[in-house]
Amino acid sequence: MAIITISRGSSSLGKTVAEQVARRLDYRLISREVLLDASTRFQIPEIKLEKAIHDAPGILERYRHSQQSYVAYIRSALVERVVDDNVVYHGLAGHLLLKGLGHVLKVRINAELKRRVAIVMERDKIPEEAARRRILEDDRQRQKWTQSLYGQDPWDASLYDLTICIDTLSVDMAVDFICRAAAAEGFQATESRRRKAQDMAMACRVKAALVDEFPQVGVTCDNGNVLVYTGSGGDRGSGKLAKKLRQIRDMEEKIFHLETHPGVALPPDAV
């Protein structure tokens, strides 16, 4: 049983595909719920979270780190939602936020600009030029967001297991492909993969608890052993960090062991 993320440019019929896939496989379908979860848990207005996951970071963001915090909250909420697999997620950046989980089928739906413009014109009752501008601006923001936070181009096919052109292949065909791929061995939730998902959920929870005060830390978790990496920034604030980690340790029952690795570079799988 798999976790399926469906990414797409705005108005590319990705939502329709996601709904049909979820229906056919009898999977849960999630999208906005992730933002609501994050908003409730971390007491941040949903609109701010939506802006953080949609808009590219501004110039002041370098100094405020608020976007980084919000993304960490959203990531934590998303991983909690998918940890039991059998789920289709069609929100923003699923393929990046769930990076590191082995049984995630990452799908990209592409549609021609002309078709997307027609969809927006019909849906929002706006003229063609306005629809085109809206879509292109949306694409630009997506590109900037992904580049600035992950150093990648969202249109790069190598980020996805399947990239489907919905203009030539119909929605039904796309659903067929995705359902068939989801049954492949590579996307089945084995015991070790489920364990890894639970570890990632823990790491994300710890990261979300730390990110506001310590935006540069990275967290890994392996069978309940949580490691917090502070990077090469030295020991500044270590007393404050230690106090915070003790609070986290008290709150999280499932942490078997928690330690910090000061001055050590963040491993690639750290959240």
């Binding site: 082995g102 096919a157 297991d161 990239t163 030539t168 292949l169 068939r180 590579g186």
Partner: protein, 270 residues
Amino acid sequence: MSIIMISSDVPEMENRIAEGVAEEKGYDRLDRRILADAALRYGTRPERLNEALESAPSLFRRLALRRWRYALACIQAEVLDRMLADNLVCWGLAAHLYVNGVSHAMKIRVLSGKEADAKTAEQMGVPLHKSERWRAASSKRRKEWTMAAFQEEEADPSRYDLVIRLDQIDPVEAVRTIVGASEYRKFQSMTYSTKCLTDLALAAKVHVALSESMTDVRVQARDGSVVVSTRVPNRQKRKKVAAIKQVAGRVHGVSYVEVHAQKGFFKRTG
């Protein structure tokens, strides 16, 4: 009945998937083995055609550049002619870059994923990071070639009906997916799509005939009528137009030739 074009970032994987699909479907194969016949037909050497698919000459070597473009034109004409037979799998000939607008010609891109880097490293006996660097350099060269030859970005996913990455989808599963996709009605040949392919094939034949003696020609065909666009200074216009009409008119299947002589640059020559 369909045409399946397969492209990959790793030639060995392209070969493997294409052979698998051809085997499963019982389709004919259209790959570099046809270059010998193409060379014979167009009076050139197979090595020249093979090389044309691998590298582009410098823009400063005009004669080499002209020969290269002629070689590419020969390959296109041969490929498009053979595609009229239908029911085939095509790879290794860059067909996905010049067979456009034919609805029963399915374009698939297969990305090899990280395992391919590890395998290459093992085969070459080098560390993984060196293999990754080698592959990145190879991709860069390939990108330069496709831009020089067809002014197209090969890695652009919007060029393909489906892109499959092989990190967690194994090649056997990928073959099954492609075979399944080819059975959809959308990829069956119909009167109109066959006509589009016939027009492309005719245009390619005219283009190669013209490319023997001239450069900067673009050819479009429709139902036997051919439109040739070319760039020529005013003083040579009449002579060149006459030459084009004569050469193009001799190509089998051409019923009418129209020439548009312009002064501007073309985006592509085919």
